[in-house]
């Protein structure tokens, strides 16, 4: 790496390392309590996945450039240049991390390793070594958003097909999937897949909600990639659309990171207040059930049901009770996983890792705690409101022959609704 590149990377580090992050790398006591919290370290026993070790790499580069002791006696402080070896180590540490923040929960100083690793991603991107797949997916989303008219016809046709399916499920030929409806109260920012729209539409329509969808989706690979500007652009598309449509509230789908991006990150990225109330779809569904706006029957779901807290919705989003209240409303046969809520084990599928083939082995190995939890629960049905978690758990289900049915929570709700139409298949 030449001097010019090193100067560029030093600039990135300087820009990203704010006071809080500097404090994190200074106060780590090397107690290694975090090692037992990280599903990747526990599942592989590989030192490179130990949370404090991952953060240590950033400390080493930082010391080299911004700390006198590291600059003048680098060997003593293990200060290192971001050479190819270090970049390789940073890549594994940062892109494998699912951002679950379980290490932070158990760390006595609440050190946010996932946040520290956002500096690693910024360094890698500046060095042209960001994850290619996540970068491509982020760029595709930005292209789709910038050229919405190009996809208008195929998307409208897809929404019309979904509307037909919704009518077949509700048994009501008037059920709608409203698209770009001016003045609706709610903009539902779905995922691209029909499975994210169909059950939500059934529930909104049966609840008599004033709602609409638009051409823009909630998934944000810019966030996983580690590029705040790409992430902001992807989010901005639906924020601008919500402003144009004049809605009062944005509702995000069963997707962990989409909720966190809209509720917690967008304001920081855009430096503007979020002009709407942001809700998760399960908050709305919980309200509809409690207010009697939709009816669910307890006898319609067979088997013992358990619930997995996606890290971004639970530990990092604070939504623990609404999903549980929904599941308990549709079955008397509910059992929680142990541990649960803020202590819930990461399933191993977050942070975009399911899209990165190179991490498949560590991903599957890191699911072992989730497999143990699921087996111990004795459940035959798992409700799980995150796309990435479901992909991972479905794969674990196959590999470990758990015999589980893995459901979106809203699919479980629709299956428990006494509707006139035909019962939908699981998503």
């Amino acid at each position: 790496m030449d001097a010019q590149q090193l100067t560029t990377l030093a600039g990135v580090i300087d820009k990203k390392m704010n006071r809080q992050l500097k404090q994190y790398i200074d106060i780590c006591a090397r107690c290694a309590i975090c090692k037992d919290a990280c599903h990747q370290y526990v599942g592989t026993g590989d030192f490179k996945y130990l949370p404090a070790r991952r953060a240590e790499l950033i400390r080493q580069v930082y010391k080299k450039y911004f700390d006198k002791t590291g600059r003048f006696v680098p060997a003593l402080y293990e200060a290192r240049d971001p050479d190819d070896n270090l970049l390789d180590e940073l890549y594994d540490s940062a892109y494998a991390c699912t951002g679950c923040r379980r290490c932070m929960y158990y760390c006595p100083f609440s050190i946010d390793t996932a946040w520290i690793l956002s500096v690693a991603k910024a360094i890698l991107i500046a060095a042209g070594r960001g994850n290619e797949m996540l970068g491509q997916l982020a760029d595709a989303a930005i292209f789709k958003g910038d050229n919405a008219e190009m996809f208008n016809d195929v998307m409208i046709s897809g929404f019309e097909d979904i509307q037909e399916e919704v009518r077949a499920i509700t048994g009501n030929p008037e059920s709608q999937v409203p698209v770009n409806k001016q003045g609706a109260d709610i903009l539902y920012v779905a995922l691209a897949g029909a499975h994210s729209i169909r059950p939500a539409a059934v529930i909104f329509e049966e609840a008599g909600e004033s709602w609409t969808i638009s051409m823009f989706e909630a998934a944000n690979y810019g966030f996983f990639y580690g590029d705040a500007e790409k992430a902001r652009l992807i989010t901005k598309r639906y924020i601008d659309e919500a402003i144009r449509l004049g809605v009062k509230e944005i509702v995000v789908p069963e997707c962990g990171h989409a909720y966190r991006v809209a509720e917690f990150f967008y304001e920081a990225w855009s430096k503007e207040p979020m002009p709407f109330k942001v809700s998760h779809i399960l908050e709305k569904v919980d309200q509809y059930i409690k207010a009697g706006r939709i009816t669910v029957d307890k006898g319609l779901i067979e088997g013992k049901v358990t619930y997995h807290d996606p890290c971004q919705l639970g530990r990092n989003g604070g939504k623990f009770e609404e999903p549980r209240d929904i599941v308990k409303a549709v079955t008397d046969n509910f059992v929680d996983l142990t541990p649960n809520r803020a202590e819930q084990w990461c399933c191993g599928g977050g942070g975009g890792i399911v899209a990165m083939e190179e991490f498949k082995d560590v991903r599957l190995a890191s699911g072992i705690k989730k497999v143990e939890q699921l087996k111990a629960s004795g459940a035959s049905v798992l409700a799980c409101p995150c796309e990435n978690c479901r992909l991972q758990i479905e794969e674990l289900n196959e590999v470990h022959e758990l015999g589980l049915q893995v459901w979106q929570v809203i699919d479980l709700v629709v299956a428990a609704m006494p509707l006139k139409g035909k019962k939908p298949m699981q998503a």
Binding site: A140, F143, K144, S157, G193, A219
Partner: protein, 80 residues
């Protein structure tokens, strides 16, 4: 099928939910030579926007994106 549309790789993406069809095409494009063609069949309607958007933003080419008997059939050519 014309000679220039010889299929180099078939991808069965039926049942996969978006954005996975796009992810799978992206993961597999490197398995065909430049100029090679992937034929992918998906069932999620979201793929009709996702896969062409991915191709445009990565500089690859979608030769065909059609709904056939309720399935979505794509011919994707690796350009670079």
């Amino acid at each position: 099928m014309s000679e220039e549309n010889k299929i180099d790789l078939e991808l069965d993406l039926k049942g996969l939910l978006c954005p996975l069809p796009m992810v799978k095409v992206s993961q597999n494009i490197g398995k065909v030579e430049v100029g090679g063609i992937i034929r992918a069949v998906a069932t999620d309607p979201g793929a009709m926007a996702d896969i062409p958007a991915w191709a445009k933003s990565t500089g690859n080419e979608v030769l065909q994106a059609e709904k056939v008997d309720g399935q979505f059939v794509f011919l994707v050519k690796r350009v670079k």
